[in-house]
Amino acid sequence: MSPATSISEGYSASASPDAPPVLELRGINKSFGPVHVLRDVDLTVRAGEVTALVGDNGAGKSTLVKCIGGIHPADSGSYLFEGQPVKVDSPRAAAELGVEIVYQDLALCDNLDIVQNMFLGRETTKRFVLDEVTMEQLAADTLASLSVRTVTSVRQRVASLSGGQRQTVAIAKAVLWNSKVVVLDEPTAALGVAQTAQVLELVRRLADKGLAVVLISHNMNDVFAVADRIAVLYLGRMTAQVSTSDVTHSQVVELITTGRGAATRREAPDEPNGTAGADGTSEWKNGERP
């Protein structure tokens, strides 16, 4: 796969409910020794949409992300990409499909600069020599295409960047490669209010450009602000995957904490719609019931 100056244009930017799934996981199981972390997990990710993956600490979100990224291949279950069953058993295999992960701990090399990090493992060369000019240009173009204005020089060492800037670099690295699916594991967990807003805006922009985005977050306001769908993981099981407009904050919170809730009956005709609003402005009140 070659680097792209602009984001993939293969998908329409509209999040139509019938957009074909880009990535589908079916019956994923994953154990670490005796610990059965993921149990029969299904997940569907569509182009042009932000799918929020929520769940309590230890629910298995990061583990699921590592299965998607090929770091910890699943023990069983199927992995479909654009409808085709594929085998993703290494980070490289995921990258070749156009699946990019922004890990919770970012996985950047502090001693390398922004360009070097963005091209890590996929360095551009010209007759065995690193093509620094091209890489620097592509890195700058990608940051520009994401409307990132917060980084003064792409030759800054990553160690010298703020948390938000590091997050931005990690995201830019993920979209540099004409990627089709971008998974972000708690990208705002360590950020302040302003930085969080910028990262969320960036996440939304990725989906609007036609990418399939998976966002893991603990913050209900963040989730309702940008997500089109919400997938809830409870003790390693996927308890619900619903449209954001079909559920309220409190319903999602109940799903997260108990694994059960009204939201699982989303097909019911009497289910109230849009009480939470997708603009992220509404407050989450604990115990609120529709």
């Binding site: 980070p91 090399c109 690193l130």
Partner: protein, 381 residues
């Protein structure tokens, strides 16, 4: 993202990015208006006006920040001092040629060691591997021919020596990368094994009768007045420096030392890369063994016990961080010559040459201390 936060490198050097960026952006009045947003407006793209003085300033800043610039200064001061004190003896072609020849073997080992240390590893075995390779090369040459051997047997011997070195290195790398045994222990083990096996093969007696063709050319010959040993060492240094700075292999070496897990997640075959790096270090130790053999016309089994530590000291003096991810071959070049010049200068001055060990030890600790300080400063940011 709040860009009031530091966006600058936190190296120990004066005159850093903050000053430079602010002055250049402040020129445009509109941007300077809201001081908090000044940096928000600066563009991501490479500097739109790449002016020469700016480039020079950046380069200077980078130099000041690197350890190797300081050690280079130390080297210059030493050489100047000795030249002033003993103008007739120190700065002569004869003397400097001797210093360079003595340093050649250590320099070649140091190049390989730089790669290993940048991956946050260490190789204590190079001195023993050097001896082992020299013995294998000598045994091959003397086994299939004699002192008057032609180039055929010599070449076979050289290849055998290089292969032996690379094999030890690959074994080290395999044990470090795949078996996950700490590099310190693996190479401490192979230090003993390589030397022991070399002694077993020779029953502890140095192998003599190395072909004169080898010692007359590579060992003690010159090209344009420069000893072959020095030419080969410089060639290795230049190639090693280029590979480290401008190739994918070099870039990934830094990445692994900086954050091995990030490298793995970026699809870099970390284990294989580590094996290659240790094999390279072993190969260069093999080359050093051959050069030593050519120079002294005999294996010098007992003469290399300090080589590994000498090479590590040179690498660290040259600004390569034991924590990995940082370092240069040029730094190692400087780091090799500081002890060499010190020793030579002391001998010429009539000072007991043993003071060299004392002085180098002190400088070494100071260099690592400076590295620690810099890391702490970076982490605080």
């Amino acid at each position: 993202m709040s860009l009031g936060e530091t966006t600058t490198d936190t190296g120990p050097g004066p005159g850093d990015d903050a000053a430079a960026t602010t002055t250049s952006t402040a020129k445009s009045a509109g941007e300077a208006a809201s001081s908090a947003d000044v940096k928000d407006e600066t563009v991501t793209a490479p500097d739109p006006r790449p002016d020469l003085s700016d480039t020079a300033r950046r380069l200077a800043r980078r130099l000041v920040r690197t350890n190797s610039a300081w050690t280079f200064l130390v080297l210059l001061v030493l050489m100047t001092a000795f030249s002033i004190m003993k103008p007739a003896h120190f700065p002569t072609t004869f003397n400097l040629r001797n210093v360079a020849t003595d340093a050649a073997v250590l320099l070649i080992i140091g190049v390989g060691m730089t790669y290993v240390v940048i991956t946050a590893g260490i190789d204590l075995s190079v001195g023993s591997v050097l001896v082992f390779s020299g013995v294998v090369a000598a045994k091959t040459m003397t086994g299939i021919s004699d002192v008057d051997a032609g180039w055929g047997p010599i070449l076979l011997g050289l290849l055998a020596g290089l292969a032996a070195g690379a094999a030890w290195g690959a074994l080290n790398g395999f044990l470090v990368a795949k078996a996950k045994v700490p590099a310190l222990i693996v190479t401490l083990g192979s230090l003993g094994m390589a030397l022991g096996l070399a002694q077993v093969m020779t029953e502890g007696q140095d192998v003599r009768g190395v072909p004169t063709r080898l010692s007359d050319t590579i060992g003690n010959g010159r090209v344009l007045g420069v000893p072959w040993l020095v030419v080969i060492a410089l060639l290795v240094t230049v190639l090693g420096a280029l590979a480290l700075a401008t190739t994918r292999f070099g870039r990934r070496t830094y990445a692994i030392g900086s954050n091995a897990e990030a490298a793995r997640r970026a699809g870099i075959p970390v284990e294989l890369h580590l094996i290659k790096v240790y094999a390279l270090c072993g190969l260069l130790a093999g080359l050093a063994g051959i050069l030593s053999l050519a120079r002294f016309t005999t294996t010098t089994i007992g003469g290399h016990t300090n080589d590994s530590l000498g090479a590590i000291a040179a690498v660290v003096l040259g600004g390569t961080s034991l924590f990995g991810g940082v370092g240069t071959i040029v730094g190692t070049l400087i780091g090799v010559f500081i002890p060499a010049i010190l020793q030579n200068g002391f001998i010429i001055l009539g000072v007991q040459p043993y003071w060299q060990s004392v002085a180098v030890g002190g400088v070494l600790i100071a260099a690592v201390y400076a590295d620690q300080l810099r890391r702490r400063a970076t982490q605080r940011a």
